[in-house]
Structure formats: structure tokens, C-alpha cells
């Protein structure tokens, strides 16, 4: 989903991009620990009866489940912030804090939506400036990406017009 914060007087604009997620981090933990308790309860019970080989398999499986849920949860908490200020565009990407960031010149910026003619691959939204290009909104659906591309172009236009 795309959250747009726009200041009409200052021509400043902020786009906050987040993927769809249907479970909170707390919910993921709750689900994981409910399974962990059941699985380890069974494995520990059998271990106490002397059938310990169940325990490492249960451990490995819970590790795999934990990694799977963690990877998906992390992906769902990914966030991109595009801030358009006076003459720069700042793009930040991360979860709790910006892990990667780029600053591009606003005057030369161009918003490009690349589509694969075969519709086999999803489209890619790029912000290009001075030969550099940054892809944004990878996790958005096609409609959201299209809308974001139009909004970004509209937000960049006043600067271009003003400059002319």
C-alpha cells in the first residue's frame, strides 16, 4: 500500500510504501510458539521415554518453520520512503531503520515504468536521475505501482515547470 503525505505550499512530498501483510509480528510469534510448545512437548515426552531421535528432527523442523516465518514476516515489514524536497529525492529502504538510502537530483529525475511485453514478469518502477536508477515498489501490485508512478511524476512536475 502507498501512503502519500503532500504539503501544497512547500512542494514537499513523502511516499511511504509498504507491502500487504495480514498478520502482525506478534501474531506470527504467537502462532510459532503454539506449534513450538506442541512439537517440543511431543518430542521431549518421547525423549524422556528413551526415544530421543525424535528430538533432533523436531528441533530441525521448528528451526525451518521459524526461519520460514521470519523471512516472510521480514519481507512483510519492509518499508520504502520516498521524500521529495526542494531539489532532491531521497529514497530510504529498510524495516525498523533505513538500511539503504539514495539521494537523487530532483531536476533531472524521471519516473519510468518498465513493462515486460510478455506479462511474464511484473513491471518495474524506476526513478532515474543522472544515470543512476533506483527501483521502488517491488512489493506493490500492478495497479498500485501504476498509481505510484503517476503520483511520483505529478509530484516531480512542479519542480520541472518552475525550473523552466
Amino acid at each position: 500500500m502507498v501512503d502519500i503525505q503532500q504539503h501544497a505550499d512547500t512542494l514537499q512530498c513523502r511516499f511511504v510504501l509498504r507491502p500487504n501483510r495480514s498478520l502482525s509480528w506478534r501474531g506470527s510469534l504467537l502462532f510459532y510458539f503454539s506449534l513450538l510448545i506442541i512439537s517440543s512437548g511431543i518430542a521431549i515426552g518421547l525423549t524422556l521415554l528413551g526415544f530421543w531421535p525424535v528430538l533432533p528432527f523436531a528441533g530441525l523442523e521448528m528451526l525451518a518453520l521459524g526461519i520460514g516465518l521470519y523471512v516472510v514476516a521480514c519481507r512483510c515489514y519492509e518499508c520504502e520512503v520516498i521524500s521529495i524536497n526542494g531539489d532532491s529525492i531521497r529514497i530510504e529502504r529498510g524495516r525498523d531503520y533505513p538500511r539503504e538510502q539514495w539521494t537523487l537530483g530532483r531536476m533531472w529525475a524521471r519516473v519510468v515504468l518498465e513493462r515486460c511485453p510478455r506479462a511474464w514478469y511484473p513491471s518495474r518502477l524506476l526513478i532515474r536521475s543522472h544515470g543512476r536508477s533506483v527501483e521502488v515498489g517491488r512489493f506493490l501490485d500492478e495497479e498500485e505501482r501504476q498509481r505510484l508512478a503517476d503520483e511520483l511524476t505529478r509530484s516531480l512536475r512542479p519542480a520541472l515547470v518552475g525550473n523552466l
Binding site: 500500500m1 500487504n20 501483510r21 495480514s22 498478520l23 501474531g27 506470527s28 502462532f31 506449534l35 506442541i38 512439537s39 511431543i42 518430542a43 518421547l46 521415554l49 528413551g50 526415544f51 531421535p53 525424535v54 528430538l55 533432533p56 528432527f57 523436531a58 530441525l60 523442523e61 525451518a64 518453520l65 520460514g68 516465518l69 523471512v71 516472510v72 514476516a73 512483510c76 524521471r110 519516473v111 519510468v112 515504468l113 518498465e114 513493462r115 515486460c116 511485453p117 510478455r118 506479462a119 511474464w120 514478469y121 511484473p122 518502477l125 501490485d141 500492478e142 495497479e143 498500485e144 501504476q146 508512478a149 503517476d150 511520483l152 511524476t153 505529478r154 512536475r157
Partner: protein, 525 residues
């Protein structure tokens, strides 16, 4: 209005073609197709084994195979059907349908999805190759009870490895299903708005994760008993062979529900469509599914009433098993209530669904008979048990898979199947399967033991009848293969909704659906 610059780029890698497309597939539809095709092949292989069994049992005496090979066939038939046909078929349905039903673009972990499928062909090649090894394949039954299974020849470690591979595949599939359902539901798709098929799969995946390590640990202990001198199940070394039965059935009974809960989900999707009414008692269906899953953990002892259990144990497992009839009864009641005063039509998926409700209930009732501990002492290891679990797994799980195939085939392929041929397939199946399995109740009650290649003369008529039913049912499945191939290649163009009464997000997509589902967020009502 200002718009972004649109560029059509050719520099993307070309979509993979030919075999590489399938080997490297990460798209949920491709992987779903792979699972379904694989399970159909396994269904035919397992079916051929069943026909060998029934050919031998057509008459008393030994006609075609040796007793050792007969036992290999019963063992392999079960392993192939359980782990190679039914489970992968439901995983295939999950792959195809769950993302489309919850409004997700794909499964949460697509690469893992690819691995979880591609382990299976290797696992089953390994398992089937044991038939050609010195000493033949495993012949001690799919339950792998020691000490009998430890007498397997060179095949033994390969069988254990293949079981591990199947387990790994199932676990990876379950992790993917859980991660997808929990994290990737479209906005507005709350848990209690999820289609029942999705709910049943979520609970199935939970069961799978909980019990698979028990199977893995159990078969590993068999391996160490055979090759590394341990005595987990060796009485001579202070171990307990009966404990393997406890361990196996602690996995095995939930496994039965792993194979039937998604079937409940399928039927709960199909009946409302053709009754043109919403499902009666949606939330009670969800709670009934969860209750069945919970109860499946505490009833394993009913598989081993005759091993010499304390009376308290017999009573506990007897009553716990009988309690399962309550949530199952809720489900059957809800399906019937959904049909009650509905504007029903009887297309092939609905015919299979109605047959499921009736015939699965027969399997459920014979299960109740088996749950009665004192009666079970007579039924234990007789053909009555064989009849019971085939009514549950064939007219239950397999019929639901057939119903699902006919129901969603137009959505998957974009073509309507041949309704006339579909109905012929249904009637041949339903007649064949009843001729096949119903007489086995009488055989069991008369005392015919299971897993024997020869039998006393008084069982001859019912066995001959059963074998005739097997051949009718078995060969009628070739018609199903023909119908599927015909539908893929040609047929009337299917509409997006396909069925007048169909509800759900998958029907809002085109038929066949685009390679990437839901390029715009779906609306959930």
C-alpha cells in the same frame, strides 16, 4: 494529467521454456500443476499394484504372484497411495488454489515450494526402485512394524531414506502453506472470511508440522536398530517393539486427518455452489475441523487395541475415538443442511461431492464400529478394517479429489470438460468402488485376515466380486485421464465464473487465470 514514462523492455531474461520451465518453476500454478500431474501418475502406479493384489485374490490359491511379492505389493500400494498420490494431490490443490482464494499473488516462499515438489520424484523413484533390489521391496506393511520390517533385504535403508525425503517435502509444503495463509491474505480477508478449503489446509499444515518429526524419529530408530546395534524396538536388547506401534500411530492417526481434512474443505466449497446456497454453519465447520485435529492426537491407541493395553487405556482410546463422531457429524449435518431446499443441479463435481457425503459417512460408521474396543478384538486385522479405511480414503479423499478436479479444471485450463464423459466416469467409479469395497465388510466380519495372498474357500465369492469391482473402478480411471487431457487440449471456452453459484476470489480471475494472479488488489466482501 502527467503520467510516468512507460517503457517496454526486452532485456528481461526470456521466460524459461520446455523442461527448464518446470524444473525452475516458482509460480504457484506451475508447481500446483506439477504436484497434480505427479499425484495422478502415482495414483495410476499405486492402482496397478492394487489390481495385481485383486487379480491374485480373485480366486483362492496362488495364481500370479509369490506371497513375498504379494506382500511387497500391499506395502508399496499403501506407501505410494498415501505419500505419492493423496498427499501430493492435496498439496497441488493448495498450491493452485490458496493464493487465488486469499487474494495473494503467489505462495510466500516460492523457491522452497520448488524444492518441496522436486524432492518427490526422487523419493518415489528410490522407493519404487527397491522392488528390483536383492530381497525385493519392503513387504512388512506400510506401518513398517519391527521386527518384521527389519527382515527387509537390501531395500531397507533406501525405504527409510525415501520416507525421510517424503517427510521433508511434506514439511516444506506445510511451512509454505502456513506462511502464505497467515501473511498474505488480501486486505479485508480476515481469518473467519477465509474459504473453508483454506481453513482446512491451515489446520492440516499445523498437524503435519506437529507429527512429521515423530515419523522421522521412528523410522530412524528402525535404521539404527538394524545397522548400528541399538535396541529401541528390540526386545532382546531391552527395547519394546510395541512402542514402535505407539510412535507410528501417534503419527499415523493425525496422518489420516491430514488426508481427509482438505477433502472436507473441497466438499465445503462444492456443495454450496451447486446447491446455490451459502454453506450452512460456516463457523461451526471451522471449529469442527479444529476439534477433529485436536482429537486426532489422542486416539492413536485404537489402532492397537489388541496389543495388550491396560483396561483404562482401552476405555480412554475407545471413548476418545467415539467423540470424533461429534465434530464429524456436525460437518455431515452442515453439508446436508446446505443442500436442504437448495436449488440443486447435479454436474459431475456435485455428483462426486454427494457420493463423498454418503460413502464417507459409511466409512465413518464402520470406524465407529472399530472404535468399540471389545468388538475391535474380532475386527482387528481383518478385511473389515480394509473396507473401512478404503471407504474413508477412496470414497472420501480420492472422490473429493475427483470432485475438485472437475470443479476447478475449467478454471485451470480455460475449457469446460465433457460433462457426459464426466458423468460416465462418476457412475463407473461409484458402482465399481462399491462392488470393490462393500463385500470386504462381509469378508472381514466372516473372519478373513488382511495381507494374505491365499484364503479359505468360504471367502471365494465375495473376493471374486471385490476383484471385479476393482477392475471396473481401476479401468474407469483411464477415462478420467482421457477427460483431463481432452479438457486441456480443447473444449468449450469456460467463463470466468464457470459455475453459476460459485463464490470466492478465484472465480473473479480469468479462466485460465493470468500467470500472475491479482495484479490489482481484490475486493473481499
Amino acid at each position: 494529467m502527467s503520467t510516468a514514462t512507460h517503457v517496454h523492455v526486452e532485456h528481461h531474461d526470456a521466460p524459461p521454456r520446455g523442461i527448464w520451465r518446470w524444473l525452475s518453476a516458482t509460480n504457484h500454478k506451475d508447481i500446483g500443476t506439477l504436484y497434480l500431474v505427479f499425484s495422478l501418475i502415482m495414483f495410476l502406479i499405486g492402482g496397478c499394484m492394487a489390481l495385481i493384489i485383486r487379480a491374485e485374490l480373485f480366486q483362492p490359491g496362488l495364481q500370479f504372484v509369490t506371497p513375498q511379492f504379494f506382500n511387497q505389493m500391499t506395502t508399496m500400494h499403501a506407501l505410494v497411495m498415501v505419500f505419492g498420490a493423496v498427499m501430493p494431490a492435496f498439496t497441488g490443490l493448495a498450491n493452485w488454489l490458496i493464493p487465488m482464494m486469499i487474494g495473494a499473488p503467489d505462495m510466500a516462499l516460492p523457491r522452497m515450494n520448488n524444492w518441496s515438489f522436486w524432492i518427490l520424484p526422487f523419493a518415489f523413484t528410490l522407493l519404487l526402485s527397491t522392488l528390483f533390489m536383492q530381497g525385493g521391496g519392503p513387504a512388512g506393511g506400510w506401518t513398517l512394524y519391527p521386527p518384521l520390517v527389519l527382515q527387509t533385504g537390501n531395500a531397507f535403508p533406501f525405504v527409510i531414506l525415501s520416507v525421510h525425503m517424503m517427510g521433508i517435502s511434506s514439511i516444506m509444503g506445510a511451512i509454505n502453506v502456513i506462511a502464505t495463509i497467515l501473511n498474505m491474505r488480501a486486505p479485508g480477508m480476515t481469518l473467519m472470511k477465509m474459504p473453508l478449503f483454506v481453513w482446512t489446509w491451515l489446520i492440516t499444515a499445523y498437524l503435519l508440522i506437529a507429527v512429521m518429526p515423530v515419523l522421522a524419529g521412528g523410522v530412524t530408530m528402525l535404521l539404527t536398530d538394524k545397522f548400528f546395534g541399538t535396541s529401541f524396538f528390540n526386545a532382546a536388547g531391552g527395547g519394546d517393539p510395541v512402542m514402535f506401534q505407539h510412535i507410528f500411530w501417534f503419527f499415523g492417526h493425525p496422518e489420516v486427518y491430514i488426508m481427509i481434512l482438505p477433502a472436507f474443505g473441497v466438499i465445503s466449497m462444492i456443495i454450496p455452489t451447486f446447491a446455490r446456497k451459502p454453506l450452512f454453519g460456516y463457523s461451526s465447520m471451522v471449529y469442527a475441523t479444529a476439534s477433529i485435529a485436536f482429537l486426532s492426537f489422542i486416539v492413536w491407541g485404537h489402532h492397537m487395541f489388541t496389543v495388550g493395553m491396560p483396561l483404562a487405556g482401552e476405555l480412554f482410546f475407545m471413548y476418545a475415538t467415539m467423540i470424533i463422531a461429534v465434530p464429524t457429524g456436525v460437518k455431515v449435518f452442515n453439508w446436508v443442511s446446505t443442500m436442504w431446499k437448495g436449488s440443486m443441479t447435479f454436474e459431475t463435481p456435485m455428483l462426486f461431492a454427494i457420493a463423498f457425503v454418503i460413502l464417507f459417512t459409511i466409512g465413518g460408521f464402520s470406524g465407529l464400529m472399530l472404535a468399540i474396543a471389545p468388538a475391535d478384538f474380532q475386527y482387528q486385522d481383518t478385511y473389515f478394517v480394509v473396507a473401512h479405511f478404503h471407504y474413508v480414503l477412496v470414497t472420501g479423499a480420492v472422490f473429493s479429489l475427483m470432485a475438485a478436479a472437475y470443479y476447478w479444471l475449467p478454471k485451470w485450463t480455460g475449457h469446460m470438460y465433457d460433462e457426459k464423459l464426466g458423468k460416465i466416469h462418476f457412475w463407473l467409479s461409484v458402482i465399481g468402488v462399491n462392488i470393490l469395497f462393500f463385500p470386504q465388510h462381509f469378508l472381514g466380519l466372516a473372519g478373513m485376515p488382511r495381507r494374505i495372498p491365499d484364503y479359505a474357500l468360504q471367502f471365494a465369492e465375495f473376493n471374486a466380486l471385490s476383484s471385479i469391482g476393482a477392475y471396473i473402478y481401476g479401468f474407469s480411471q483411464l477415462l478420467f485421464v482421457y477427460i483431463v487431457i481432452k479438457t486441456i487440449r480443447s473444449g468449450e471456452k469456460a467463463t470466468d465464473q464457470v459455475w453459476e453459484g460459485a463464490r470466492g476470489l478465484e472465480w473473479t480471475l480469468s479462466s485460465p487465470p493470468p500467470y500472475h494472479s491479482f495484479t490489482t488488489a481484490p475486493e473481499v466482501h
